[in-house]
Protein backbone atom coordinates (compact mmCIF):
# COMPACT_ATOMS: atom_id res chain seq x y z
CA UNK A 1 0.00 0.00 0.00
CA UNK A 2 2.83 2.37 0.78
CA UNK A 3 4.07 1.92 -2.73
CA UNK A 4 0.67 2.82 -4.11
CA UNK A 5 0.65 6.01 -2.15
CA UNK A 6 4.02 7.10 -3.46
CA UNK A 7 2.99 6.32 -6.99
CA UNK A 8 -0.21 8.33 -6.72
CA UNK A 9 1.53 11.30 -5.19
CA UNK A 10 4.34 11.24 -7.69
CA UNK A 11 2.10 11.08 -10.72
CA UNK A 12 -0.15 13.86 -9.52
CA UNK A 13 2.85 15.96 -8.76
CA UNK A 14 4.47 15.30 -12.13
CA UNK A 15 1.44 16.60 -13.98
CA UNK A 16 0.91 19.56 -11.71
CA UNK A 17 4.56 20.47 -11.88
CA UNK A 18 4.74 20.38 -15.64
CA UNK A 19 2.04 23.01 -15.74
CA UNK A 20 3.46 25.02 -12.89
CA UNK A 21 6.73 25.29 -14.74
CA UNK A 22 5.17 27.58 -17.26
CA UNK A 23 3.43 29.98 -14.97
CA UNK A 24 5.15 33.23 -15.47
CA UNK A 25 2.95 36.01 -14.36
CA UNK A 26 2.72 39.48 -15.63
CA UNK A 27 0.15 42.06 -14.96
CA UNK A 28 -0.81 45.35 -16.31
CA UNK A 29 -2.75 47.62 -14.06
CA UNK A 30 -6.22 48.62 -15.08
CA UNK A 31 -7.69 51.71 -13.58
CA UNK A 32 -10.95 53.44 -14.11
CA UNK A 33 -11.23 57.15 -13.92
CA UNK A 34 -14.62 57.57 -12.37
CA UNK A 35 -16.60 60.61 -13.26
CA UNK A 36 -17.46 62.17 -9.97
CA UNK A 37 -18.50 65.59 -8.88
CA UNK A 38 -14.95 66.24 -7.73
CA UNK A 39 -13.75 66.35 -11.31
CA UNK A 40 -16.13 69.19 -12.02
CA UNK A 41 -13.42 71.57 -10.93
CA UNK A 42 -11.27 70.55 -13.84
CA UNK A 43 -14.17 70.63 -16.26
CA UNK A 44 -13.94 74.31 -16.95
CA UNK A 45 -10.30 74.09 -17.95
CA UNK A 46 -11.02 71.25 -20.34
CA UNK A 47 -13.87 72.96 -22.14
CA UNK A 48 -11.44 74.23 -24.69
CA UNK A 49 -10.11 70.70 -24.94
CA UNK A 50 -13.34 69.34 -26.26
CA UNK A 51 -12.66 71.22 -29.45
CA UNK A 52 -14.61 68.71 -31.46
CA UNK A 53 -17.76 70.45 -30.26
CA UNK A 54 -19.71 69.47 -33.34
CA UNK A 55 -19.58 65.83 -32.39
CA UNK A 56 -19.71 66.23 -28.63
CA UNK A 57 -23.46 65.68 -28.47
CA UNK A 58 -23.06 62.16 -29.84
CA UNK A 59 -20.19 61.20 -27.54
CA UNK A 60 -21.25 58.92 -24.75
CA UNK A 61 -20.76 55.41 -23.45
CA UNK A 62 -17.69 53.45 -22.55
CA UNK A 63 -14.22 54.14 -23.89
CA UNK A 64 -11.24 51.87 -23.34
CA UNK A 65 -7.82 53.41 -23.75
CA UNK A 66 -4.65 51.29 -23.89
CA UNK A 67 -1.78 53.54 -22.92
CA UNK A 68 1.92 53.18 -22.19
CA UNK A 69 2.80 52.86 -18.50
CA UNK A 70 4.70 56.16 -18.57
CA UNK A 71 1.45 57.96 -19.41
CA UNK A 72 -0.40 56.72 -16.34
CA UNK A 73 -0.51 59.93 -14.31
CA UNK A 74 -1.30 62.31 -17.16
CA UNK A 75 -3.81 60.06 -18.88
CA UNK A 76 -5.71 59.23 -15.70
CA UNK A 77 -6.23 62.99 -15.37
CA UNK A 78 -7.21 63.25 -19.06
CA UNK A 79 -9.79 60.54 -18.44
CA UNK A 80 -11.43 62.55 -15.67
CA UNK A 81 -11.43 65.70 -17.77
CA UNK A 82 -12.82 63.89 -20.81
CA UNK A 83 -15.62 62.40 -18.72
CA UNK A 84 -16.44 65.82 -17.31
CA UNK A 85 -16.49 67.36 -20.78
CA UNK A 86 -18.67 64.57 -22.17
CA UNK A 87 -21.21 63.54 -19.53
CA UNK A 88 -22.23 59.93 -19.90
CA UNK A 89 -18.81 58.70 -20.94
CA UNK A 90 -16.73 56.33 -18.84
CA UNK A 91 -13.06 56.10 -19.68
CA UNK A 92 -11.25 52.94 -18.65
CA UNK A 93 -7.49 52.67 -18.95
CA UNK A 94 -5.20 49.73 -19.40
CA UNK A 95 -1.67 50.89 -18.66
CA UNK A 96 1.22 48.61 -19.45
CA UNK A 97 4.33 48.07 -21.50
CA UNK A 98 3.69 49.31 -25.05
CA UNK A 99 4.80 45.96 -26.50
CA UNK A 100 2.40 44.02 -24.32
CA UNK A 101 -0.43 46.39 -25.16
CA UNK A 102 0.28 46.21 -28.91
CA UNK A 103 0.32 42.42 -28.72
CA UNK A 104 -3.04 42.40 -26.90
CA UNK A 105 -4.59 44.74 -29.47
CA UNK A 106 -3.39 42.57 -32.35
CA UNK A 107 -4.79 39.54 -30.51
CA UNK A 108 -8.18 41.23 -30.37
CA UNK A 109 -8.27 42.98 -26.99
CA UNK A 110 -11.25 45.34 -26.76
CA UNK A 111 -9.48 48.69 -27.06
CA UNK A 112 -10.76 51.93 -28.56
CA UNK A 113 -7.61 54.06 -28.47
CA UNK A 114 -3.93 53.13 -28.33
CA UNK A 115 -1.34 55.57 -27.01
CA UNK A 116 2.10 54.04 -27.32
CA UNK A 117 5.55 54.93 -26.07
CA UNK A 118 7.25 53.95 -29.29
CA UNK A 119 6.74 54.20 -33.01
CA UNK A 120 7.78 50.56 -33.37
CA UNK A 121 4.96 49.22 -31.21
CA UNK A 122 2.46 51.47 -32.98
CA UNK A 123 3.73 50.04 -36.26
CA UNK A 124 2.88 46.55 -34.97
CA UNK A 125 -0.71 47.71 -34.65
CA UNK A 126 -0.65 49.58 -37.97
CA UNK A 127 0.65 46.51 -39.80
CA UNK A 128 -2.25 44.46 -38.45
CA UNK A 129 -4.61 47.10 -39.90
CA UNK A 130 -5.95 47.91 -36.47
CA UNK A 131 -5.62 51.69 -36.77
CA UNK A 132 -8.74 53.61 -37.74
CA UNK A 133 -6.63 56.64 -38.63
CA UNK A 134 -2.94 57.31 -39.14
CA UNK A 135 -1.12 57.57 -35.80
CA UNK A 136 -0.23 61.09 -34.69
CA UNK A 137 2.66 61.90 -32.37
CA UNK A 138 1.40 63.77 -29.33
CA UNK A 139 4.48 63.95 -27.11
CA UNK A 140 8.16 63.16 -26.85
CA UNK A 141 10.16 61.92 -23.92
CA UNK A 142 13.87 61.69 -23.32
CA UNK A 143 16.06 59.81 -20.92
CA UNK A 144 17.60 61.04 -17.72
CA UNK A 145 19.90 59.40 -15.22
CA UNK A 146 17.87 58.73 -12.09
CA UNK A 147 20.05 58.66 -8.99
CA UNK A 148 19.42 58.21 -5.28
CA UNK A 149 18.45 61.52 -3.57
CA UNK A 150 21.53 63.45 -2.51
CA UNK A 151 23.47 61.71 -5.28
CA UNK A 152 25.94 59.99 -2.91
CA UNK A 153 28.02 58.68 -5.83
CA UNK A 154 28.27 62.17 -7.32
CA UNK A 155 27.04 61.11 -10.75
CA UNK A 156 26.97 63.98 -13.21
CA UNK A 157 27.84 62.33 -16.51
CA UNK A 158 26.86 59.26 -18.47
CA UNK A 159 30.51 58.14 -18.51
CA UNK A 160 30.46 57.61 -14.75
CA UNK A 161 27.89 54.85 -15.16
CA UNK A 162 30.52 52.62 -16.76
CA UNK A 163 32.49 52.57 -13.49
CA UNK A 164 32.38 49.20 -11.78
CA UNK A 165 31.67 50.84 -8.41
CA UNK A 166 28.36 52.18 -9.66
CA UNK A 167 25.43 49.77 -9.75
CA UNK A 168 23.22 50.56 -12.71
CA UNK A 169 19.78 49.29 -13.77
CA UNK A 170 18.85 49.52 -17.45
CA UNK A 171 15.60 48.53 -19.13
CA UNK A 172 15.74 45.34 -21.19
CA UNK A 173 16.53 46.04 -24.83
CA UNK A 174 13.17 44.62 -25.85
CA UNK A 175 11.18 47.40 -24.13
CA UNK A 176 11.13 51.02 -25.38
CA UNK A 177 13.14 52.55 -22.53
CA UNK A 178 15.83 49.92 -23.07
CA UNK A 179 15.96 50.56 -26.78
CA UNK A 180 16.33 54.27 -26.06
CA UNK A 181 19.10 53.57 -23.55
CA UNK A 182 21.01 51.51 -26.12
CA UNK A 183 20.73 54.39 -28.59
CA UNK A 184 21.83 57.03 -26.08
CA UNK A 185 24.78 54.99 -24.84
CA UNK A 186 25.87 54.30 -28.41
CA UNK A 187 25.62 58.00 -29.26
CA UNK A 188 27.77 58.86 -26.25
CA UNK A 189 30.14 55.95 -27.00
CA UNK A 190 29.77 54.67 -23.44
CA UNK A 191 29.59 51.00 -22.50
CA UNK A 192 27.63 50.27 -19.36
CA UNK A 193 27.39 46.85 -17.76
CA UNK A 194 24.27 47.04 -15.61
CA UNK A 195 23.52 44.70 -12.72
CA UNK A 196 20.08 44.11 -14.17
CA UNK A 197 17.99 44.55 -17.32
CA UNK A 198 14.58 45.50 -15.98
CA UNK A 199 11.30 44.46 -17.55
CA UNK A 200 9.95 48.01 -17.71
CA UNK A 201 10.83 51.55 -16.80
CA UNK A 202 8.87 51.50 -13.55
CA UNK A 203 10.84 48.52 -12.24
CA UNK A 204 14.09 50.29 -13.09
CA UNK A 205 12.91 53.38 -11.23
CA UNK A 206 11.80 51.31 -8.22
CA UNK A 207 15.29 49.83 -7.93
CA UNK A 208 16.66 53.37 -7.52
CA UNK A 209 13.90 54.39 -5.11
CA UNK A 210 14.73 51.38 -2.95
CA UNK A 211 18.42 52.29 -3.25
CA UNK A 212 19.25 48.84 -4.60
CA UNK A 213 21.08 50.45 -7.50
CA UNK A 214 22.93 53.76 -7.65
CA UNK A 215 21.56 54.85 -10.98
CA UNK A 216 19.15 53.92 -13.74
CA UNK A 217 18.36 55.30 -17.18
CA UNK A 218 14.68 56.23 -17.14
CA UNK A 219 12.44 58.81 -18.78
CA UNK A 220 12.45 62.41 -17.57
CA UNK A 221 8.72 62.08 -16.83
CA UNK A 222 9.40 59.15 -14.51
CA UNK A 223 11.90 61.19 -12.52
CA UNK A 224 9.40 64.03 -12.31
CA UNK A 225 6.61 61.63 -11.35
CA UNK A 226 8.71 60.13 -8.55
CA UNK A 227 8.41 63.47 -6.73
CA UNK A 228 11.78 63.70 -5.03
CA UNK A 229 12.28 60.02 -4.33
CA UNK A 230 14.91 60.05 -7.06
CA UNK A 231 17.04 62.81 -8.50
CA UNK A 232 17.34 63.39 -12.26
CA UNK A 233 20.65 64.08 -13.97
CA UNK A 234 20.47 65.32 -17.57
CA UNK A 235 23.00 64.21 -20.14
CA UNK A 236 23.66 65.51 -23.64
CA UNK A 237 23.31 62.20 -25.50
CA UNK A 238 19.71 61.94 -24.28
CA UNK A 239 18.72 64.17 -27.19
CA UNK A 240 20.01 61.49 -29.59
CA UNK A 241 17.46 59.02 -28.25
CA UNK A 242 14.20 60.88 -27.96
CA UNK A 243 11.11 58.67 -27.87
CA UNK A 244 7.99 59.70 -29.73
CA UNK A 245 4.54 58.90 -28.38
CA UNK A 246 1.98 58.18 -31.12
CA UNK A 247 -1.77 57.89 -30.54
CA UNK A 248 -4.48 56.45 -32.78
CA UNK A 249 -8.12 55.44 -32.58
CA UNK A 250 -8.58 51.76 -33.38
CA UNK A 251 -10.52 50.10 -36.17
CA UNK A 252 -12.36 47.57 -34.04
CA UNK A 253 -13.58 50.20 -31.60
CA UNK A 254 -17.19 49.82 -30.56
CA UNK A 255 -17.30 53.54 -29.81
CA UNK A 256 -15.36 55.19 -32.59
CA UNK A 257 -16.92 58.65 -32.09
CA UNK A 258 -15.58 58.75 -28.53
CA UNK A 259 -12.27 57.26 -29.67
CA UNK A 260 -11.80 60.06 -32.23
CA UNK A 261 -12.82 62.68 -29.69
CA UNK A 262 -10.40 61.37 -27.07
CA UNK A 263 -7.56 61.38 -29.61
CA UNK A 264 -8.41 64.96 -30.52
CA UNK A 265 -8.56 65.86 -26.84
CA UNK A 266 -5.02 64.54 -26.23
CA UNK A 267 -3.77 66.69 -29.13
CA UNK A 268 -5.61 69.82 -27.88
CA UNK A 269 -3.75 72.75 -26.37
CA UNK A 270 -4.81 72.24 -22.71
CA UNK A 271 -3.87 68.57 -22.80
CA UNK A 272 -0.54 69.46 -24.35
CA UNK A 273 0.09 71.91 -21.51
CA UNK A 274 -0.56 69.18 -18.97
CA UNK A 275 1.81 66.84 -20.80
CA UNK A 276 4.47 69.54 -20.75
CA UNK A 277 3.88 70.06 -17.03
CA UNK A 278 4.48 66.33 -16.50
CA UNK A 279 7.87 66.61 -18.19
CA UNK A 280 6.99 65.56 -21.74
CA UNK A 281 8.38 67.50 -24.67
CA UNK A 282 6.22 68.81 -27.51
CA UNK A 283 5.97 66.36 -30.42
Amino acid sequence: MANTRIRTAALGVTTAAALLALTACSSSGTTTASSTASSAATASSSDAGSASASASAAITGKLTVFAAASLKKTFTQFGKEFEAAHPGTTVTFNFGGSDTLAASIVSGAPADVFASASTATMTTVTKANDNAAAPVNFARNSLEIAVVPGNPKGITTLQQLSSSSVKVALCAKTVPCGAAAVKALAAAKVTVTPVTYEQDVTSALTKVELKEVDAALVYRTDVQGAKGKVLGVDFAAAQQAVTSYPIAPLTHSSNSAAAQAFTAFVLSAPAQQELAAAGFQAP
Partner: protein, 282 residues
Protein backbone atom coordinates in the same frame (compact mmCIF):
# COMPACT_ATOMS: atom_id res chain seq x y z
CA UNK B 1 -6.28 -1.12 -4.69
CA UNK B 2 -8.39 0.85 -7.17
CA UNK B 3 -6.08 3.83 -6.92
CA UNK B 4 -3.21 1.72 -8.05
CA UNK B 5 -5.04 0.39 -11.08
CA UNK B 6 -6.18 3.82 -12.16
CA UNK B 7 -2.63 5.08 -12.15
CA UNK B 8 -1.02 2.20 -13.88
CA UNK B 9 -2.99 1.76 -17.03
CA UNK B 10 0.62 1.70 -18.18
CA UNK B 11 2.05 -0.79 -20.72
CA UNK B 12 2.83 -3.50 -18.16
CA UNK B 13 -0.82 -3.87 -17.27
CA UNK B 14 -2.38 -3.43 -20.64
CA UNK B 15 -3.09 -7.12 -20.97
CA UNK B 16 -5.31 -7.19 -17.92
CA UNK B 17 -9.05 -7.36 -18.38
CA UNK B 18 -9.64 -4.12 -16.56
CA UNK B 19 -13.22 -3.72 -17.40
CA UNK B 20 -14.15 -6.83 -15.48
CA UNK B 21 -12.87 -5.35 -12.26
CA UNK B 22 -15.12 -2.31 -12.50
CA UNK B 23 -18.65 -2.51 -11.23
CA UNK B 24 -20.40 -1.07 -14.29
CA UNK B 25 -19.38 1.82 -16.51
CA UNK B 26 -17.78 5.07 -15.32
CA UNK B 27 -20.60 7.43 -14.23
CA UNK B 28 -21.12 10.26 -16.69
CA UNK B 29 -21.36 12.83 -13.88
CA UNK B 30 -17.75 12.04 -13.06
CA UNK B 31 -16.48 11.33 -16.54
CA UNK B 32 -17.72 14.53 -18.17
CA UNK B 33 -16.14 17.03 -15.74
CA UNK B 34 -13.02 14.88 -15.63
CA UNK B 35 -12.59 15.00 -19.40
CA UNK B 36 -13.37 18.74 -19.45
CA UNK B 37 -10.85 19.30 -16.68
CA UNK B 38 -8.22 17.34 -18.54
CA UNK B 39 -8.89 19.24 -21.76
CA UNK B 40 -8.69 22.54 -19.90
CA UNK B 41 -5.28 21.65 -18.50
CA UNK B 42 -3.87 20.05 -21.61
CA UNK B 43 -5.16 22.38 -24.36
CA UNK B 44 -2.77 25.27 -23.56
CA UNK B 45 0.11 22.82 -23.90
CA UNK B 46 -1.31 21.66 -27.23
CA UNK B 47 -1.49 25.32 -28.24
CA UNK B 48 2.22 25.73 -27.51
CA UNK B 49 3.04 22.65 -29.52
CA UNK B 50 0.87 23.66 -32.46
CA UNK B 51 2.13 27.24 -32.62
CA UNK B 52 5.76 26.30 -32.04
CA UNK B 53 8.04 27.54 -34.82
CA UNK B 54 9.32 24.02 -35.56
CA UNK B 55 11.18 24.90 -38.75
CA UNK B 56 13.16 27.74 -37.22
CA UNK B 57 13.60 26.07 -33.84
CA UNK B 58 17.32 25.43 -34.17
CA UNK B 59 17.99 29.05 -35.05
CA UNK B 60 15.83 30.37 -32.21
CA UNK B 61 17.46 28.14 -29.64
CA UNK B 62 20.97 28.72 -30.93
CA UNK B 63 21.19 32.43 -30.12
CA UNK B 64 22.99 31.92 -26.84
CA UNK B 65 20.32 32.93 -24.36
CA UNK B 66 18.80 29.48 -23.91
CA UNK B 67 21.57 27.41 -22.41
CA UNK B 68 22.82 29.88 -19.78
CA UNK B 69 19.21 30.52 -18.75
CA UNK B 70 18.30 26.83 -18.65
CA UNK B 71 21.43 25.94 -16.72
CA UNK B 72 20.80 28.73 -14.24
CA UNK B 73 17.16 27.68 -13.86
CA UNK B 74 18.07 24.07 -13.08
CA UNK B 75 20.84 25.02 -10.66
CA UNK B 76 18.84 27.63 -8.77
CA UNK B 77 15.67 25.52 -8.60
CA UNK B 78 17.68 22.62 -7.19
CA UNK B 79 19.48 24.86 -4.70
CA UNK B 80 16.17 26.42 -3.65
CA UNK B 81 14.75 22.93 -3.10
CA UNK B 82 17.79 22.03 -0.98
CA UNK B 83 17.32 25.17 1.11
CA UNK B 84 13.62 24.35 1.45
CA UNK B 85 14.44 20.81 2.59
CA UNK B 86 16.99 21.89 5.19
CA UNK B 87 14.71 24.54 6.67
CA UNK B 88 11.29 23.24 5.69
CA UNK B 89 11.33 19.68 7.03
CA UNK B 90 12.18 20.76 10.60
CA UNK B 91 9.56 23.51 10.31
CA UNK B 92 6.96 20.97 9.20
CA UNK B 93 7.93 18.72 12.12
CA UNK B 94 7.54 21.64 14.51
CA UNK B 95 4.08 22.40 13.15
CA UNK B 96 2.90 18.79 13.16
CA UNK B 97 4.47 17.30 16.27
CA UNK B 98 4.69 20.01 18.87
CA UNK B 99 2.07 21.99 20.67
CA UNK B 100 2.60 25.58 21.56
CA UNK B 101 0.45 28.72 21.70
CA UNK B 102 0.10 30.47 18.36
CA UNK B 103 0.81 27.35 16.33
CA UNK B 104 -2.28 27.87 14.14
CA UNK B 105 -1.22 31.43 13.44
CA UNK B 106 2.26 30.21 12.59
CA UNK B 107 0.84 27.65 10.20
CA UNK B 108 -1.14 30.39 8.45
CA UNK B 109 1.95 32.57 8.20
CA UNK B 110 3.82 29.75 6.48
CA UNK B 111 1.21 29.74 3.73
CA UNK B 112 1.40 33.49 3.18
CA UNK B 113 3.95 33.23 0.34
CA UNK B 114 1.43 30.99 -1.45
CA UNK B 115 -1.25 33.65 -1.59
CA UNK B 116 1.07 36.62 -1.95
CA UNK B 117 1.53 37.74 -5.56
CA UNK B 118 5.17 36.81 -6.30
CA UNK B 119 6.00 40.37 -7.33
CA UNK B 120 4.92 41.53 -3.88
CA UNK B 121 7.08 38.78 -2.43
CA UNK B 122 10.00 40.18 -4.41
CA UNK B 123 9.44 43.68 -3.08
CA UNK B 124 9.12 42.32 0.46
CA UNK B 125 12.41 40.46 0.02
CA UNK B 126 14.06 43.67 -1.18
CA UNK B 127 12.82 45.47 1.93
CA UNK B 128 14.40 42.80 4.13
CA UNK B 129 17.41 41.49 2.21
CA UNK B 130 18.07 44.44 -0.08
CA UNK B 131 21.11 46.66 0.22
CA UNK B 132 19.12 48.95 2.52
CA UNK B 133 16.88 46.24 3.91
CA UNK B 134 16.38 45.35 7.56
CA UNK B 135 18.73 42.36 7.39
CA UNK B 136 20.47 43.20 4.13
CA UNK B 137 22.00 46.40 5.50
CA UNK B 138 23.64 44.41 8.26
CA UNK B 139 24.74 41.65 5.86
CA UNK B 140 26.33 44.30 3.68
CA UNK B 141 28.17 46.18 6.43
CA UNK B 142 29.26 43.10 8.41
CA UNK B 143 30.08 40.62 5.65
CA UNK B 144 29.98 42.65 2.44
CA UNK B 145 27.22 40.38 1.16
CA UNK B 146 24.53 41.84 -1.07
CA UNK B 147 21.89 39.44 -2.33
CA UNK B 148 20.00 41.39 -5.01
CA UNK B 149 21.31 40.92 -8.55
CA UNK B 150 23.21 37.77 -7.61
CA UNK B 151 22.56 34.09 -8.28
CA UNK B 152 22.20 33.60 -4.51
CA UNK B 153 19.43 36.19 -4.68
CA UNK B 154 17.61 34.04 -7.26
CA UNK B 155 17.84 31.07 -4.89
CA UNK B 156 16.47 33.18 -2.03
CA UNK B 157 13.54 34.38 -4.14
CA UNK B 158 12.76 30.88 -5.38
CA UNK B 159 13.06 29.30 -1.94
CA UNK B 160 10.71 31.95 -0.56
CA UNK B 161 7.89 30.99 -2.91
CA UNK B 162 8.66 27.25 -3.07
CA UNK B 163 9.21 26.33 0.57
CA UNK B 164 5.54 26.52 1.63
CA UNK B 165 4.75 23.73 -0.85
CA UNK B 166 7.29 21.50 0.84
CA UNK B 167 6.29 22.45 4.37
CA UNK B 168 2.61 21.79 3.69
CA UNK B 169 3.30 18.43 1.99
CA UNK B 170 5.59 17.23 4.76
CA UNK B 171 3.32 18.49 7.49
CA UNK B 172 0.42 16.62 5.90
CA UNK B 173 2.51 13.46 5.70
CA UNK B 174 3.55 13.82 9.34
CA UNK B 175 -0.05 14.20 10.47
CA UNK B 176 -1.01 11.16 8.42
CA UNK B 177 1.84 9.08 9.83
CA UNK B 178 1.17 7.08 12.95
CA UNK B 179 2.93 8.78 15.87
CA UNK B 180 2.82 5.55 17.90
CA UNK B 181 5.98 4.37 16.11
CA UNK B 182 7.81 7.40 17.47
CA UNK B 183 6.36 6.75 20.92
CA UNK B 184 7.51 3.15 20.70
CA UNK B 185 10.99 4.35 19.76
CA UNK B 186 10.92 6.70 22.73
CA UNK B 187 9.94 3.92 25.14
CA UNK B 188 12.86 1.91 23.77
CA UNK B 189 15.16 4.72 24.83
CA UNK B 190 15.60 6.68 21.63
CA UNK B 191 15.97 10.44 22.03
CA UNK B 192 13.44 12.63 20.25
CA UNK B 193 16.00 13.48 17.57
CA UNK B 194 16.97 9.84 17.05
CA UNK B 195 13.31 8.94 16.73
CA UNK B 196 12.89 11.72 14.18
CA UNK B 197 15.91 10.59 12.19
CA UNK B 198 15.43 6.82 12.33
CA UNK B 199 11.64 6.50 12.49
CA UNK B 200 9.82 9.63 11.41
CA UNK B 201 11.93 10.55 8.38
CA UNK B 202 11.69 7.13 6.69
CA UNK B 203 7.98 7.08 7.49
CA UNK B 204 7.26 10.38 5.75
CA UNK B 205 9.83 9.98 2.96
CA UNK B 206 7.12 9.84 0.27
CA UNK B 207 5.66 13.09 1.56
CA UNK B 208 9.09 14.70 1.56
CA UNK B 209 9.70 13.46 -1.98
CA UNK B 210 6.37 14.79 -3.23
CA UNK B 211 6.94 18.09 -1.44
CA UNK B 212 10.42 18.42 -2.93
CA UNK B 213 9.09 17.85 -6.42
CA UNK B 214 6.38 20.47 -5.92
CA UNK B 215 8.90 22.93 -4.51
CA UNK B 216 11.37 22.25 -7.33
CA UNK B 217 8.69 22.73 -9.96
CA UNK B 218 7.47 25.94 -8.35
CA UNK B 219 11.03 27.24 -8.13
CA UNK B 220 11.70 26.36 -11.76
CA UNK B 221 8.71 28.35 -12.96
CA UNK B 222 9.29 31.27 -10.57
CA UNK B 223 9.10 34.65 -12.25
CA UNK B 224 7.73 37.56 -10.25
CA UNK B 225 9.80 37.37 -7.08
CA UNK B 226 12.95 36.57 -9.05
CA UNK B 227 12.77 39.50 -11.47
CA UNK B 228 11.83 41.87 -8.66
CA UNK B 229 14.37 40.77 -6.08
CA UNK B 230 17.25 39.39 -8.14
CA UNK B 231 16.81 41.43 -11.30
CA UNK B 232 17.49 40.16 -14.77
CA UNK B 233 21.00 39.70 -16.11
CA UNK B 234 21.96 36.98 -18.58
CA UNK B 235 24.03 34.24 -16.96
CA UNK B 236 23.68 35.56 -13.41
CA UNK B 237 20.00 36.03 -12.66
CA UNK B 238 18.16 35.50 -15.94
CA UNK B 239 16.31 32.21 -15.47
CA UNK B 240 14.18 30.60 -18.17
CA UNK B 241 10.86 32.20 -17.15
CA UNK B 242 12.52 35.63 -17.28
CA UNK B 243 14.02 34.87 -20.68
CA UNK B 244 10.60 33.70 -21.88
CA UNK B 245 8.88 36.84 -20.62
CA UNK B 246 11.39 39.21 -22.18
CA UNK B 247 11.39 37.29 -25.45
CA UNK B 248 7.62 37.60 -25.48
CA UNK B 249 7.97 41.40 -25.56
CA UNK B 250 9.85 41.21 -28.83
CA UNK B 251 9.33 37.92 -30.59
CA UNK B 252 6.59 35.49 -29.52
CA UNK B 253 8.16 32.70 -31.62
CA UNK B 254 11.32 32.71 -29.49
CA UNK B 255 9.20 32.79 -26.34
CA UNK B 256 7.28 29.71 -27.47
CA UNK B 257 10.50 27.89 -28.34
CA UNK B 258 11.99 28.73 -24.93
CA UNK B 259 8.80 27.64 -23.16
CA UNK B 260 8.90 24.29 -24.90
CA UNK B 261 12.50 23.72 -23.86
CA UNK B 262 11.64 24.48 -20.23
CA UNK B 263 8.60 22.24 -20.45
CA UNK B 264 10.44 19.30 -21.99
CA UNK B 265 13.33 19.50 -19.53
CA UNK B 266 11.06 19.75 -16.49
CA UNK B 267 8.89 16.85 -17.63
CA UNK B 268 11.97 14.71 -18.32
CA UNK B 269 13.40 15.44 -14.88
CA UNK B 270 10.10 14.79 -13.13
CA UNK B 271 9.44 11.55 -14.98
CA UNK B 272 13.01 10.43 -14.24
CA UNK B 273 12.61 11.17 -10.53
CA UNK B 274 9.30 9.40 -10.40
CA UNK B 275 10.83 6.20 -11.71
CA UNK B 276 13.54 6.38 -9.07
CA UNK B 277 11.23 6.95 -6.15
CA UNK B 278 8.66 4.35 -6.94
CA UNK B 279 11.35 1.78 -7.57
CA UNK B 280 9.15 0.21 -10.22
CA UNK B 281 8.62 0.88 -13.90
CA UNK B 282 7.89 4.55 -14.37
Amino acid sequence: MTGRDLISSAPSRRGRPWRRRRAGAVPVVLLLPAVLGLAFLVLPLVGLLVRAPWSGMAGLLGDGTVWPALRLSLITATAATAVSLVLGVPLAWLLARTDFPGRTLLRTLVTVPLVMPPVVGGVALLLVFGRNGLVGRWLDSAFGITLPFTTAGVVVAEAFVAMPFLVLSVEGALRGADSRYEEAAATLGASRFTAFRRVTLPLVAPGIAAGSVLAWARALGEFGATITFAGNFPGTTQTMPLAVYLALQEDPATAIALSLVLLVVSVLVLVGLRGRWTGGPA
